[in-house]
């Protein structure tokens, strides 16, 4: 098979057929900047990225900002002994840089959240277990907080997020209160493939918002298990059980147990139920072939890019193109060989357009940022 040139690639993905409704979905600019390594001034590079979006001030000044990180899997699992931030976690330098710019833009409170793998302990401990310098993060800006959203955490009750319109999988989701007690919601993701969803970017990152206390393998049957110690395979991925009865139950339980069908739809539901205001995809160093070291055949990659946008679907569409894929590809086509395309499903929910021809890409052009994950 002859490989397409960059020019042909851009032309092809721009001309790809649109799904019904794509024209109606909102769009927002997406910025790309190059950053070859974490030894560069990552904070300055992020500053350029945010400036290209018009700055963060109007979005965050005087507000509480919640940033969902990507720290998937146990921090003990490493690819070739590398720190997780060099492969499948967002890098703490990027996290610190984001905190700095949010602080400079006037954010009143910056709360980093993640449903840490198999624990309800403080998120700071998972960060330490990942080799992060928590004190440095705390000093990156005023008002930095951390919350492990895998259970109730510091709150007394869960917040319910109803899926507007007709939901794909669950009518609503019960999440940690941090997702509700915020003015601005940011998804800070890693540029990666995903074994179940093809790619995992700012949208898929939010699958990790689900608390294992309710959606975990060892979630309580009736009430949440506030000491979760496992993942979310049986509920979300496989549909072999319902979440705790305290939470809204799956609409058509047992109808489809294909993870490639289920997870993209849950993510699309979540994108509508808990909208993302700022999507950041970190691809300085990463892994290809899967979302974590537990996926067979993964390898390290150095795309050297930072991507951000004010619409998660647009941002993920651009990021997918940077990875060398057509963001409008359908099931059976790379990278969605065994799954549905999350971006198109989110687009169908009205969350944003995955149509590159409608997206204003600022800074480094896609063709120059292109880093083929399947090469």
């Amino acid at each position: 098979m002859t490989r397409m040139t960059r020019r042909e690639w851009i032309a092809a993905i721009s001309a790809a057929p649109l799904l019904k409704g794509a024209n109606a979905a909102p769009v927002a600019p997406v910025a790309i900047n190059q950053c070859a390594s974490y030894e560069e001034d990552v904070t300055a590079k992020l500053g350029v990225l945010f400036d290209r979006l018009g700055g963060l001030g109007s979005l965050v000044r005087g507000k509480t900002v919640t940033v969902k990180l990507n720290m998937t899997g146990s921090p003990a699992q490493r690819l070739q002994g590398l720190a997780p931030a060099l492969t499948h976690y967002v890098h703490p330098k990027v996290v610190g840089g984001v905190a700095y710019h949010l602080g400079q833009a006037g954010a009143r409170r910056i709360r980093f959240v993640e449903s840490a793998w198999a624990t309800a302990g403080p998120l700071e401990e998972t960060m330490l277990d990942s080799g992060w310098n928590v004190r440095a993060l705390q000093s990156a800006a005023a008002g930095v907080e951390f919350e492990n959203t895998n259970a109730l955490g510091k709150s007394k009750r869960y917040a319910r997020f109803k899926v507007p319109g007709s939901a794909y999988m669950y009518p609503a989701y019960d999440l940690n209160r941090a997702f509700e007690d915020t003015d601005v919601f940011v998804s800070l993701a890693k540029l990666k493939n995903h074994a179940t969803c093809g790619v995992t970017l700012s949208l898929k990152n939010c699958f990790g918002s689900l608390p294992a206390s309710i959606y975990g393998d060892d979630a309580g049957v009736d009430e949440p298990n506030e000491n979760p110690a496992s993942g979310r395979g049986t509920v979300g991925h496989e549909g072999r059980r319902q979440p705790s009865k305290s939470a809204p139950q799956e609409l058509r339980f047992g109808a489809n147990r294909d993870p490639g069908y289920r997870v993209p739809r849950i993510v699309a539901d979540l994108s509508a139920a808990r909208p993302i205001h700022l999507a950041i995809v970190e691809g300085v160093e990463s892994m290809a072939g899967g979302e974590g070291p537990w996926v067979q055949g993964v390898r390290t990659v150095k795309p050297g890019v930072l991507i951000a946008g004010l619409n998660p679907v647009c941002t993920d569409a651009v990021a997918t193109a940077v990875m060398g894929y057509n963001p409008r590809a359908v099931r059976g086509t790379a990278p969605f060989q065994t799954c549905d395309n999350t971006m198109l499903l989110a687009e169908g929910r009205g969350a944003g357009a995955a149509d590159l021809s409608r997206i204003d890409v600022r800074g480094v052009p896609i063709a120059r940022a292109l880093y083929r994950y399947d090469s």
Partner: protein
């Protein structure tokens, strides 16, 4: 008569009886199996800590050459030899002593000791028998697991879990808690396996951080490369000597006490002799624990402890049970093994728990894990999944040392350590003479320090 002979030899402990004046005393012996018998090979030891060579066969020329360099030699006698005669022949060649390696009957061992006269006999015994001669100058076994990250079979791919580390530390720490004698572990590299230099370093550190000495042993390939002075082999050998020397430069560490607010009461002659048991399970979770042999279970042994695990309640005497009762009455939490649980003893060549026992022990382990939770029981480590640690405290309580050994093939960066207690100074020590101060910062329950990088081994020294 045999008992008298044993007691006589026990007088060697720390002494010089039967050892030429120019040689180090047995307690200070740093041993290695020496695969060569030419005097030139001794050049490899220059500048290193190794001062006791286990050799087979033992020749008079080699023994003399070694003695001239201040090195002790032990002739290895194994089952199948006419042990007493072999010992006599070796001693006639002027070796320093005998290394009786293998599963010998007590009668044969006694005969060898008698044949050796005042010369030291180090018994490299099976684990099940090593405590029998608890008055020995040196406690030693030839049985050990080969330390390193375990490759687990039949593990479903998924974003789970911690690595399991094959280690002798639980066994060594258990034995050390019940005896003051120097402790050697003389397991050899696995056969038909490529053994990297890194794995040798792990074996040295695994024993070293537990206060024991690994009897350094080289696989055939490495020995051949080293014999022809292959540059990489020489460099690796230098690293091995440097690491062994690191522990030898700090004899004070062997006099320190294991510390942790969690105490494990175990019979050192039973489950404590096995690897992969509860002590190793706790260690892999980075929880500091002090092993207490039930025979040394006193109120003093439980000082400062807040949690205790008593594995085999039926094995305790009424006096020992009373100590635990008082512990709980004074606010301590006690976890006992399930009814009917009997601590397994090693048998035959088995030195790890069998699958059935492992499953039973898992029940206890889950309870221990739940009891410990996220509590800081002396020290908490972060980003240390591929490491094991050992937390020691001086007898006056003013100095503590945390040993860290990394069993992965890669350096671990950015390790955070949170200590209980009011320490004023901290320093990071590493092989090669590295010593640098660490910044201490306050944490929720004490003090913290960050370590940039641990290659194979490092230690944090804390001072009040």
């Amino acid at each position: 008569m045999c008992v008298l002979a044993c007691l006589a030899l026990s007088g060697l402990a720390g002494g010089q009886a039967g050892v030429s004046p120019g040689l180090p005393k047995p307690a200070d012996w740093v041993p290695a199996r020496w695969p060569w018998s030419d005097a030139a090979s001794l050049d490899l030891l220059a500048g290193g800590p190794i001062n006791c060579l286990l050799v087979r066969p033992a020749t008079a020329e080699f023994a003399a050459a070694a003695a001239n360099r201040g090195l002790a030699t032990l002739a290895i006698v194994v089952p199948g030899d006419d042990a007493p005669a072999a010992a006599r022949r070796a001693l006639a060649a002027k070796v320093t002593g005998i290394a009786l390696e293998g599963d010998f009957s007590e009668a044969v061992a006694a005969e060898v000791r008698q044949s050796a006269g005042s010369a030291p006999v180090v018994e490299l015994a099976p684990r099940s028998r090593m405590m029998a001669n608890s008055a020995a100058a040196i406690l030693a076994t030839y049985q050990g697991v080969w330390p390193g990250l375990a490759v687990l079979e039949h593990v479903r791919a998924g974003p789970t879990g911690s690595a399991w580390i094959d280690t002798n530390t639980g066994f060594l720490r258990g034995v050390r808690a019940s005896s003051d004698a120097p402790l050697w572990i003389a397991n050899q590299p696995p056969a038909r396996t490529v053994v990297t230099a890194r794995r040798y370093l792990e074996a040295i550190a695994d024993a070293g951080m537990s206060g024991a000495r690994w009897v350094l042993a080289l696989d055939q390939d490495f020995a051949a490369r080293l014999a022809r002075r292959d540059a990489q082999a020489v460099a690796d050998w230098g690293r091995m000597l440097a690491l062994a020397g690191y522990f030898e430069r700090h004899p004070e560490w062997r006099g320190m006490l294991e510390y942790g607010k969690l105490a494990l009461v175990q019979d050192p002659a039973k489950g404590g002799l096995l690897s992969g048991g509860i002590l190793d399970m706790i260690a892999v979770k980075q929880t500091p624990v002090r092993p207490i042999p039930r025979q040394r279970l006193t109120p003093g042994a439980l000082k400062d402890a807040s949690l205790a695990v008593n594995l085999d309640a039926d094995a305790l005497t009424p006096e020992e049970l009373a100590v635990l009762r008082d512990f709980t009455r004074s606010g301590g939490t006690l976890l006992t093994g399930p009814p009917g649980w009997k601590d397994q003893s090693p048998s035959g060549n088995a030195i790890t728990l069998d699958q059935r026992e492992l499953e039973r022990l898992n029940d206890i382990w889950r309870e221990v894990n739940s009891m410990v939770g996220r509590r800081n029981l002396g020290v908490r480590l972060f980003n240390a999944a591929s490491m094991l640690s050992n937390f020691l405290i001086s007898t006056d309580g003013r100095t503590a040392v945390l040993h860290l050994v990394n069993y992965s093939d890669y350096p671990v960066e950015n390790v955070s350590v949170h200590f209980l207690g009011g320490y004023k100074r901290a320093a990071l020590l590493a092989p090669g003479g590295v010593e640098k101060p660490l910044e201490l910062y306050q944490t929720e329950d004490g003090w913290g320090a960050d370590i940039d990088k641990v290659t194979v081994c490092a230690s944090v020294r804390l001072e009040q």
